[in-house]
Amino acid sequence: MLYERPRRARAVLAVLLAASIVVITIDFRQRQGGPVDRLQRVAIAVFGPLQQGASAVVRPIGNLVGGVAEIGSLRSENRRLRTEVAGLRARERTYLDVLGENERLRGALRMARRCGCRTVGASVVARSGSNFQLSVTIDAGARQGVARDMAVVDAGGLVGRVTQVTADYATVLLVTDPTSGVAATLASGKAPGILKGRGEELLQFQPVRAGTAPRLGDSVVTRGYQGGVFPAGLPVGVVERVDPAGAASLVPRVDVRPYAALGTLDVVAVVVDRPPPSAPTPQPGKGR
């Protein structure tokens, strides 16, 4: 067909162009059900299996080529994502930590607010290095209004008593320390006594009056006394064991398990002031 006659060529062109336009028109007029639509479905039916087969053969190659082209960017992206993941992990740990701390701090504040006390939040920064003294150091001191003999609570209950104060730190003697003694009473009835630490998990309740009979599950709360900042009614612990008075002892021996999570102490609240009897609304402590 090297020497096509121009006139014939033009005729072919005209026919084909006209055919195209006719097809476009038909297709545009009736998108569905028309002859063009049927033809389209035939074409798709014929090519579908071919395309599927070709894809199966060719896609891995395409992926490979595409993958090679992307390796550079993938590497840098990988690096970037790794650092991001590490950062996010660290952030997540911090976040969970803060979340828990917040929760416990809220608990401590709630605890203190229940008695309507003004409190100062603090974190435990150190535990006592001595084997003979059970105390913690907190990061609140005179500057925050902390003074000696103030009560320290956590979300569960009484933690201890402030024994030493510096400008920014204070030492808290835990209720479990053998030298610790807290004026307390059974919540169920008037049965004043002293809660003594024993250097172990449990406290010992020593009733002042003979004849009081604490029962298992009784709550023990603090007893306020004149002039002290130690508020009354702070929960301390629950009676866990009672050895009735007998031959060995004149008074019953009562073991009390503290409510405070003394083993895993991290945030606490220091009761800096008892509510004046006239103040009806408790003031939440200045959180740190």
Partner: protein, 166 residues
Amino acid sequence: MRRVLVLAAVVVVGVLLETTVLGELRLAGVRPDLLVLSVVAVAMASGPVSGAAFGFSAGLVADLLFDLPVGVSALVYTAVGFAVGIARVYMTSQLPLVHLVLVGAASLASVWCSGLLLRVFDLVSWETVARAGPLVALYNLLLAPFVYPVVRALAERVPAKPAQRW
């Protein structure tokens, strides 16, 4: 008959490649247009009538398979095939560069003409049309060294009947 089969095979392979591997190898959002490359090759090998006929068939198949108004590619490829077939008379040079320029120009014209038609149907935006033209032309130029000589050689090996009387 052999010629029809060979050229049909070219169309089928071209469409398959376009819809499978090249569809996944889009660069900047466009895929190359192997069919227009084939149309140029056939037209360069066999002249305007063959070019137009091949262009029409290839375009029709592509239209039927791709979800666009049927006939648009047929129209455009017919025009491209015919124009290239006419132009080859004036191209005496065998320099590859000349053929590449032709391929590039044909691709650009093809994309822009199709785009214009689709624009009439309000199926594309002007920006897409304007952008796609040069990109497809460039992509086609990259593939031309592998596709163009092959299709051209195939078309030349199965020549049309030398004379048709009517």
